[in-house]
Subunit: 359 residues, 2 copies
């Protein structure tokens, strides 16, 4: 969309704008890659938290969705009858979350992950009396050093534990890969798969994810499914990583210049409550579209500070459009995003139904 | 409150907990300092966004509240009949915000700030036909290099412009001071006050703010009013700054250990959506109460990574309590905080009524 898009003039700022045409193009781009390489796509909805965008992903060919929280999954399923298959890539613990999980399992095809016997045992205790067993993946640490079992041996042990636990079935292997980690994913998963198959178990699905590495996902051919999240909107971190260009960024923050107190400094009404403080390794808090010479060097909650080497060329009342460092966290801050594209003449406010959830 | 507070056991995590007894003590501590030094207190509600806590501040002696957004002020005024005096320390621009501002001005004693003729002229155009003039402060840059006129001369010029603008009256001088900036506040404000008084105008109020420097506010005796925000809850940044101890931190995040995938690594269910990525110059994303040996070195949206030098001493299912780096931004992330103290036997969920506001 053009920088001086008149459709945005009446929006009060700071406003989070989503261009559906760009989002659709991003969805189709990765779906085409995945189709060409025989990968199934299961997008992570954390980025948009919008049932209608999940529907676009499913229409393009996705086989289901990924969520990080039970309550986000509930909001998505309630918001769209098209969402029938959900993977929650998180260790679910605690009575309240397990109860919600059991309710959800009666409504859709559901799977979760586990990386310890403690988590498996909690799931088993809750699901032992349920009509259908819960599908459980083993989360594997292939180098991101977040969650995940450390070795293929431990993965195989835990797969066996899941398979023998009442109320559960073993569904496969899951990882959140490190950057440029295809070789490690391939090595870990190949070995784990062989060990698990040697126990007589089937490894139906090997699921990996992460937008930075999505266009090289096929370099770990053991992978059968991929879970990109940010790709639907893209952001400054992915542009910097080389995954896309700014013209591929579907989510932008429209802000108003409220002060130009010095020749090389301007203050906008988008601070950490609009852009978030996520740096993701970058310098500065976002990219001002059309103005490569500016940087956002400091945020307070309601102030974003833009600085320039030379005269800043901004006046009080001007509007700027910013590509944030990290789109997903921006989505979670606002009760609604303003949707353009798809033939709309003016922005349409879409409630971010899955934001702010705890369970 | 004790670390192993059984009142918190049934809370689903991540949960933001506010201890009213600690908050009350924090409020009284600064009010006593201000009273002893003849300073009026006008707390900034950005930290709590809760009318009931503003009432505690007013009961302790505050003369009114400070807000950063018109819509946050609206939410506070709607939530408490005790809130009758509001200062919005922000340049208000644009038709929608100005309309809300005019409505609010009919309900409470209201003031705003401006640091440019453009902002003053926008306010004047909107308020020229209103029954009462709007009170406008000149925002001054005393070294924080955010908003604010750069010199006392410019402050005096803008004060004159406000005084002559239809629909407005000049209310005084406002600053958000830099760290340890009392001498600069004193010098700037003394000179600006003299220049403005030489024009025949009265400088009724000189208002400064910021919790880091609050206990030295009286070292700029030209100041008549102070606007601390974070002081009501405190946080890791203020502990590090030396303003308080961890026992003075009223806001904590309760999280559950969901994975202990290595001897010196644990993952909790509080990530950047619960703790935020604000570093405020610190290393790590929060302090685990009672465990000085741990650090939170990495956040994803739903994962917080805790690392240790030696064995981590945490198990899956354990709960930890974290003092975040920056309490104010945590408040804005959640729809409700869980209040303990004040004689309550169990936590009470209070909706954060002023969160997520745009106007």
């Amino acid at each position: 969309m053009p920088l001086d898009d008149s459709r945005l003039d009446h929006l009060d700022t700071p406003a989070v704008v989503v261009d559906l045409d760009i989002a659709r193009r991003n969805i189709e781009r990765f779906q085409a890659y995945a189709d060409a390489h025989g990968l199934k796509v299961r997008p992570h909805i954390k980025t948009h938290k919008l049932p209608a965008i999940a529907e676009l992903q499913l229409e393009a060919g996705a086989i289901g969705i990924t969520c990080q929280k039970v309550s986000e999954a509930e909001a998505m399923v309630e918001g769209s009858a098209a969402i029938r298959d959900v993977l929650i890539t998180y260790n679910i613990l605690g009575a309240e979350k397990l109860d919600h999980l059991a309710d959800l399992a009666r409504r859709v095809r559901l799977a979760v992950v586990a990386d310890s016997a403690a988590v498996v045992d909690g799931l088993s205790t809750r699901f032992a009396g349920e009509p259908e067993p819960l599908r459980v993946f083993v989360e594997c640490n292939t180098g991101a050093n977040r969650c995940g079992v450390p070795t293929p041996d431990v993965a195989a042990d835990l797969a066996g534990h899941i398979a023998s636990a009442p109320g559960l079935t073993f569904a496969g292997l899951m990882t959140y890969p490190p950057g440029r980690g295809e070789a490690r994913v391939q090595a870990f998963m190949t070995e784990a798969k062989a060990l698990i198959e040697a126990k007589g178990l089937v490894v139906e699905t090997i699921t990996s994810g992460g937008s930075p590495t999505m266009m090289t996902a096929a370099e770990a051919p053991v992978t059968t499914e991929y879970r990109p999240g940010t790709y639907v909107y893209n952001d400054r971190s992915l542009v910097t990583y080389g995954t896309c260009g700014f013209e591929d960024c579907a989510l932008t923050v429209v802000a108003t210049v409220v002060s130009v107190p010095a020749e090389n400094r301007a203050i906008i009404d988008a601070g950490s409550k609009a852009l978030t403080s996520d740096l993701l390794g970058l310098t500065g808090y976002g990219h001002v579209l059309g103005r490569d010479d500016l940087s956002i060097d400091q945020l307070s909650e309601e102030h974003g500070r833009i600085v320039s080497e030379g005269p800043i060329g901004l006046s009080v009342g001007d509007r700027v459009r910013i590509v944030p460092n990290h789109a997903c966290v921006v989505t979670n801050l606002v009760d609604a995003v303003h949707v353009v594209g798809g033939g709309r003449n003016r922005p349409e406010a879409w409630p971010v139904v899955a934001r702010g959830r705890i369970v």
